[in-house]
Symmetry: C2
Subunit: 117 residues, 2 copies
DNA sequence: AATACATATGAACAGTTGTTCAAGTGTTTG
DNA sequence: CAAACACTTGAACAACTGTTCATATGTATT
């Protein structure tokens, strides 16, 4: 705390800091944004999303493709659903998942472009 | 395991699964991508990045703007540096950080666009 | 109605993450 | 060169994350 005050008064580029302070988004927006990116920060969820870019799939299909238990997949789908990245529809015994929003693929693609340099 | 085998042989859309299997990226790529997105999955790091989009800043500036300890900021900067999102240059006693790659802002902006709907 | 099936959910547990505290660099200034 | 400064680093710890296991829900079939 003492550190910070010294810094603020003596060392820092005062005008720069004040200008940037105005521009900064609210804590809430940063929190929401971090939650969105958190959805992309796990390989299992990325795999699921990449599959759903191609087409609608049921839990069973996804579990097979990922070689994971239905339960593990279902938990991840639940997270993606809660955060509005995907939606679902029931068809008889199956539940089909698909993307909820075209933005999602844009975010994924922007990340992938960076990774592939 | 038994569950999965049953699924693979009886229930799943066989052609769909096989086709998607071909298309899927390697585990390595998914891992790298998840690490990249993990950098965006914390509000503190998002704040830092958003500041660096505007201009080069020293640790002290950032700590002031975020009202956080130098140490906490430095740890986050270190992570961002290790993962090549930012670079730094020393100038006397100060170390100035800046973006390492224009892609970074594209990813951030794609996320923000989604959040703001 | 009873059973089987596809998926969901809750609890529990190991592994990871982000912060703090204390101590350590490297640079400038007197 | 000693002190002050700007920043980094390592250890430690609470909080969070992702998986597993066991159980529950809802739908179709018999």
């Amino acid at each position: 705390m003492k550190e910070r005050l010294e810094c603020e008064e003596i060392l820092v580029h005062q005008e720069t800091v004040e200008r940037l302070q105005q521009k900064m988004l609210s804590q809430d927006k940063f929190n929401n944004l971090s939650i969105l990116f958190k959805m992309f920060s796990d390989p299992t969820r990325l795999k699921i999303l990449s599959l759903l870019f191609e087409e609608e799939l049921c839990v069973c299909d996804i579990a097979c493709l990922l070689e994971m238990s239905h339960s593990a997949v279902s938990h991840q789908l639940s997270l993606l659903r809660q955060n509005r990245l995907i939606k679902y529809r029931r068809s008889g015994k199956n539940i089909f998942y698909s993307l909820d929003d075209a933005h999602i693929q844009l975010i994924y693609d922007a990340g992938l472009a960076h990774c592939l340099e």
